[in-house]
């Protein structure tokens, strides 16, 4: 890979790891459904270190996007956060009122939306969509200051300053996604959550957007959570990878470790389904169907598809075990 900062596999890329910037503890999100509560995020804990790039991988419906929204406390009814805590630095987010949590968004934790979505307001110019974010975070700027600020933000994501005067429909998919990144970094957040930022973009553009994201992350010294299902992309970008299955974080480990020695059978199948590390591949070649969250099997949710499943797996939910600092797994056999 050409980009520096991408894929090293060791956690000390930045050399500035001063500890945890974001801590998620036993987070639970459920969706109320006529037939009972659907557990979309089930007892997930992890720690994000300063400057770290953490990947969260899983099939669609595994709860990874829901978790991203839950960290920002943006879950809408019928969904609700049932329990757990999210600490940004030392602040517990659920202790904040609506107004305070609103300010944390973007200023503390910024969201980069999915690349396949129309995340920009079609009737507003890009400049206005940056300006309103600043204004609603009490950043008061003169017209000239705003123009400089916007031009600078656009430059940092590799866009020309004139893009500010365009409407979203006048931009290409890659440009729109860069504009979203420009918005996300406009208040220098400590954490950036990128939710499948490159889905629906073609491969070349995907690479460019990821490079842009990597560059701004380094410039800002921010930590990144990259949500996605493209294992190849993850392998190139993240320092540590968490794997989610049926709402649970079943394994989390440094990327080199997880690629060479995956512990959880599900991770093993994911890794072995990749043609090779260099070639990119998405996780499709796994036998069996992703489980319906509404109708999860008892015990370990993965057991119907697991080659190593035994009687214990069918009855007892495996607990999360620490293997090493920053490395955990939830499997009876790992």
């Amino acid at each position: 890979m050409t980009t520096d900062g991408m894929n090293t596999g060791d956690m000390n890329t930045g050399g500035m790891n001063t500890g945890a910037i974001l801590r998620v503890e036993r987070l639970r999100v459920g969706f109320d459904h006529p037939l009972g509560v659907v557990q979309a995020v089930d007892d997930v804990s992890f720690t994000l270190l300063a400057n770290e790039r953490l990947g969260l991988a899983g099939e669609s419906g595994s709860g990874k996007s829901t978790m991203a929204l839950a960290i920002l406390r943006m879950i809408k009814p019928p969904g609700r956060i049932q329990g757990g805590a999210v600490y940004l630095d030392r602040t517990e987010l659920s202790s904040l009122d609506q107004e305070a949590i609103r300010r944390v968004r973007l200023a503390g934790i910024a969201l980069v939306p999915q690349g396949s979505m129309n995340s920009l307001n079609p009737v507003m110019r890009i400049r206005a969509q940056i300006a309103d974010a600043l204004a609603d975070h009490r950043v008061v700027l003169s017209k000239a200051e705003l123009a400089t600020r916007v031009a600078d933000l656009l430059r940092r994501v590799g866009l020309r300053a004139e893009v500010a005067d365009l409407y979203p429909h006048e931009l290409s998919g890659g440009m729109k996604q860069r504009a979203c990144i420009a918005i996300a970094i406009c208040l220098s957040p400590q954490v950036i959550i990128a939710d499948e930022p490159t889905s629906a973009l073609d491969v070349v553009v995907q690479r460019q957007v990821m490079e842009t994201l990597a560059r701004v992350q380094r410039d800002l010294g921010a930590a990144v959570i990259l949500v996605g299902h493209d294992m190849g992309l993850m392998a190139q970008f993240v320092d540590r990878l968490g794997v989610m299955y049926a709402g649970r974080l079943v394994e989390i480990a440094p990327i080199g470790e997880i690629i060479t020695r995956p512990r959880h059978p599900y991770t093993q199948m994911l890794i072995s389904s990749l043609p090779s590390l260099e070639a990119r591949g998405t996780m499709h070649g796994i036998p069996g169907l992703a489980p319906l969250l509404r109708d999860l099997p008892p015990g370990c949710a993965f057991h119907p598809r697991c080659p190593r499943a035994d009687a214990r797996c069918r009855t007892e939910k495996p607990a999360v075990r620490d293997l090493a600092p920053g490395q955990q797994v939830a499997c009876h056999h790992a």
């Binding site: 968004r105 973007l106 969201l111 999915q114």
Partner: protein, 334 residues
């Protein structure tokens, strides 16, 4: 939209005008016997002091639209008349011209319709937007059933009920006409107040019904818009509720409402005609009613043509201004 689209849109307007004129010309001929001639001859036999003029009219009519002339010549001379807004004399109120009678009624209808359409559109749209907004006050939910019920009732029927309650049982407002019988139309405070008092009930019967329609439409559009990706991202940007509501939800949801306005004008006008009839309001609708009663074909044709052209023109203007609201459809600057 390009310049070509403007030309196209104006072309549609010309087609509407031409169709309306042709309809006026050909429909009476379809029944085999020319009802215009029949009525003219009847009137001529009635005698009276306008005898001379009516005889003159018959002569002119025979010369131009007589059976001895080929259809296409009749048609062309009719189109020529219409192009000069010459709708001949009123048969029943000779020697008044149709154009002068219409000109007298138009301000009343434009005033009533303009005011009620704008008010119901604005109130309904705001109400509908709030009805869809989860953070709106609870009591607003109680507005839905009455809005639905009112929306299903024809304007003039509500007019009857309002008339009975507020003009007959509690004689708060005048029951009939556009101004008091003794009042002299002039530009004085007294006369204007008198006109306003007479307009309240007719206006209310249109506004109460139409507001419900706009509110229901807007509510539906808001629900759709609030599910859009750009609204989720707007929340992720930490924008205030007011900004999200005004600039992201309402601003986008209002676009289909404006498109619907152009379509609804015809229906509103049809309904308003009947309201004018039952309130004896001196506008186009009451004039049309009078013309139908007196079988005054020239007057009926003149009114129908004028109204269709006026509405076509309004729709054209609305369409030409629409790109100002929606940048995705913009007339290219040339």
């Amino acid at each position: 939209m390009h310049l070509i689209d403007i030309v196209k849109r104006c072309g549609v307007f010309v087609v509407i005008v031409w169709l309306a004129a042709s309809l006026n010309f050909f429909l009476p001929k379809l029944s085999g016997q020319d009802p215009v001639r029949t009525k003219l001859l009847q009137q001529a036999q009635l005698g009276g002091y306008v005898q001379q003029g009516i005889d003159e009219m018959v002569k002119v009519y025979e010369a131009r639209f007589g059976l001895d002339r080929p259809m296409w010549q009749q048609y062309l001379s009719y189109l020529g008349d219409v192009a000069r807004l010459d709708f001949n004399y009123s048969i029943a109120s000779y020697p008044r011209t149709v154009s002068s009678m219409i000109a007298e009624a138009v301000p009343w209808t434009v005033g009533l319709l303009g005011m009620t359409t704008i008010l119901s559109f604005v109130i309904g749209t705001i109400l509908g937007a709030l009805l869809a907004w989860p953070r709106a006050p609870r009591w607003m939910a109680w507005l839905m059933p009455p809005l639905w019920a009112l929306h299903a009732i024809p304007f003039f029927l509500l007019g009857l009920i309002l008339m009975y309650v507020f003009a007959f049982q509690l004689p708060l407002l005048p029951i009939f006409g556009g101004y008091s019988a003794g009042a002299r139309p002039e530009l004085s405070i007294g006369f204007i107040l008198d006109v306003a008092r007479h307009a309240v009930l007719p206006a209310l019967s249109i506004i109460l019904v139409a507001t419900g329609g706009w509110a229901l439409g807007m509510r539906g559009m808001m629900v759709t818009t609030m599910g859009e990706d750009y609204v989720t991202f707007a929340e992720g940007k930490g924008l205030s509720n007011l900004t999200i509501f005004m600039r992201y939800c309402l601003r986008n949801a209002i676009l289909p409402q404006v498109t619907a306005l152009a379509l609804a004008l015809g229906q509103i006008l049809s309904g308003a005609v009947l309201v004018e009839v039952i309130f004896g309001y001196p506008g186009i609708g009451a004039l049309l009613f009078q013309a139908i009663r007196e079988n005054d074909h020239f007057l009926i044709q003149g009114i129908v043509f004028t109204v269709i052209v006026a509405l076509g023109l309004t729709t054209l203007i609305l369409d030409l201004f629409y790109p100002l609201l929606d940048p995705r459809i913009s007339y290219r600057r040339t």
